[in-house]
């Protein structure tokens, strides 16, 4: 009998999760596992419903990247109670019943991005920060890590504004901010979409991109090609595909071979990728 695994992520409107899903699909195909997928459309309630319907369908395992650390705990615990092993990726769920967590810490990623900028600017100058959607955990955590390192450094955050993880908004917000802070030295975008928007804004304003330090987050294909063209400095890679692949493998081993993973928490260290 074919193994069926349910997978749900916060939202496919973020390329990060698109990549995660695509690579999970590939990994599943390799393992011969059938992957059922439900997009939570950025809602904890919907993600909970997704898990419930996986349980109703009696899937063999569940792979989830939870909306927030707490909101899916009841659903996950219920699934485990129903005898279905659960693996979490990217964001951790605040419970110890999961089979395995493979994640990359967003706070750590934020720190890494900040360190990259501090390093490049030789610990002085000013940075413009583009935050993600207010209140989303990725936005909050990345900002937390970033601000924490910045505060201790000689680099000043000139301004921090939200561009809601959106490329078009990243562009407009950057256009606006550049007027007030024409002497910025670096830009941090809490995801690649926003930093690409900001780069387009800078190109539009005829700013020499080589003079600015830029870093995004997520290592999307687009960001990598911007880096190849020399437009983008770096992006933080959290290896969504690798995360999902490892988690899937652990689920597979458990279901097929009744084997528990060696460690039940694995962190993939988020790293700035440069060209």
């Amino acid at each position: 009998k074919q193994i069926v695994i349910g997978m749900t992520v916060p939202g496919l409107q973020f390329p990060f999760f698109v990549t995660m899903k695509a690579e999970a699909d590939a990994a599943a195909a390799k393992l011969g596992v059938k992957l059922l997928f439900i997009d939570a459309e950025n809602s904890s309630d919907k993600q909970m419903a997704a898990i419930e319907s996986f349980v109703a369908q009696k899937v063999d395992g569940i792979l989830i990247s939870p909306m927030t650390t707490d909101s899916l705990v009841p659903a996950i615990e219920a699934a485990v109670k129903a005898g279905i092993p659960v693996a979490t990726v990217d964001r951790k769920a605040n419970t110890n019943v999961v089979l395995i967590h493979v994640g990359a810490d967003n706070v750590e990623g934020g720190r890494a991005a900040a360190r990259y900028i501090v390093d490049k600017l030789k610990n002085k100058g000013g940075v413009i920060e583009l935050e993600g959607t207010p209140g989303s955990s990725a936005a909050v955590d990345r900002k937390k890590g970033f601000d924490e390192v910045m505060k201790k450094s000689g680099v000043k955050i000139l301004v921090s504004q939200t561009a809601e993880f959106d490329r078009a908004k990243g562009q407009s917000v950057m256009e606006n901010l550049m007027q007030v802070y024409p002497k910025f030295d670096a830009v941090f975008g809490a995801n690649d979409e926003m930093i690409i928007g900001a780069i387009e804004a800078m190109s539009g304003a005829n700013i020499d991109l080589k003079t600015k330090v830029t870093i995004g987050f997520d290592a999307t294909t687009d960001a990598l090609s911007y880096m190849a063209e020399g437009k983008l400095g770096a992006t933080i890679d959290q290896f969504p595909g690798k995360q999902a692949g490892q988690a899937l493998q652990a689920l597979f081993d458990k279901i097929k071979n009744k084997k528990n993973p060696a460690k039940n928490v694995t962190y993939i260290n988020p790293l700035p990728v440069t060209k």
Binding site: L12, L36, F37, I38, D39, E41, N42, S43, S44, D45, K46, M48, A49, A50, E52, S53, A56, Q57, M67, T68, T69, D70, S71, L72, V73, P74, A75, N94, T133, P134, G135, S136, S137, A139, V140
Partner: protein
């Protein structure tokens, strides 16, 4: 006789569309028609459904409330905060509902006293309530509550999940209010012709405001269930819910121009959306395709409703 048949189809056309969808799903997925799954669907629907009940009042008056999702987030967050601080449960429940009520009251008063179109006011409130939620929570979800609170979202009474009981109870109350009380009848009347209502010496503004208060209240009740179910209250809760909620009401046959509609329609409309989501998940339709299919089903269901109406 003829009149009755027509009326039946008109009132229940959407029920027929709903049943057809259910039948198709039952045919395609063995899981769909199990008791377990049915209970799941209704429980999942309850959060939207309860808000849709409140929204029905608003839409019946000819208004709209875009802020329900944000009100849900705000009351959920404040509820979570209060629980965490160890406040006694009854007080928490009361204050949470007071938050929703207050937001609704603000909407209602600005709309009626300031005579601003509901779209703008509730759009403003949507932004304001979300902002306050974020400021209050500093962007982080709040969790860690006393276990008794979980009963609201996760408990059972005689084997029936509590959210379902609350949902059905609210539908029932709303039905009685809409058909048997002045508030209900004036709600219809205001949507039909506000001028006439005023000419009859009725304080139309008061009853109109009440609709928004009810919408705010139901949003905070949904917030209680959601917070309890998720065991946390987060700043991201309820984003985009307004559209689903309004959709449930409109699919249920309530006219956006006001004055026409029913709570049963809303009930079926909400269930329809729940069933569609559940069904597509069960069938494992890929999520991109789901969007396409869902769009066609929504249009198709309402079209079916309309065709039956015209058939007569």
């Amino acid at each position: 006789m003829k009149f009755n048949l027509r009326n039946t189809l008109k009132n229940y056309g959407i029920v027929i569309a709903f049943l057809i969808i259910c039948a198709l799903l039952a045919f395609m997925s063995p899981v769909f028609f199990t008791l377990n799954n049915m209970i799941l669907v209704i429980r999942q629907t309850s959060i939207y459904g309860i808000m849709a009940v409140g929204m029905t009042f608003v839409i019946l008056t000819g208004g709209i409330d875009l802020s329900v999702g944000s009100i849900l987030a705000l009351s959920g967050a404040i509820c979570a905060g209060m629980l965490k601080s160890g406040m006694p449960l009854p007080l928490v429940l009361a204050l949470t509902m007071a938050v929703g009520l207050g937001c609704g009251l603000f909407n209602g008063l600005v709309i009626t006293v300031g005579r601003i179109t509901p779209f703008v006011v509730s759009l403003g409130m949507m932004s304001i309530a979300r902002g306050i939620t974020l400021i209050y929570t500093k962007g982080y979800p709040i969790s860690g509550f006393q276990p008794e609170f979980r009963f609201i979202g996760g408990g059972y009474v005689f084997g029936v999940p509590v959210p379902i009981i609350i949902f059905l109870g609210i539908v029932l109350i709303a039905f009685v209010v809409l058909t048997q009380t002045r508030l209900g009848r004036y709600t219809y009347a205001i949507g039909g012709n506000e001028e006439t209502v005023k000419l009859s010496g009725i304080n139309a503004g008061f009853f109109k405001s009440l609709a928004y208060v009810i919408a705010g209240l139901t949003a905070s009740i949904s917030a209680l269930i959601s917070t309890s179910r998720l065991n946390s209250g987060g700043p991201q809760a309820g984003i985009g819910y307004e559209l689903d909620v309004i959709a449930a009401v409109v699919i249920g046959g309530t006219s956006l121009n006001g004055g026409r509609g029913s709570i049963w329609g809303t009930f079926v409309g909400a269930l329809m959306i729940g069933v569609i989501n559940n069904g597509m998940n069960l069938l494992g339709i890929s999520s991109y395709f789901q969007l396409v299919v869902k769009g066609f089903i929504i249009i198709g269901a309402v079209l079916l409703d309309r065709l039956r109406e015209q058939a007569d």
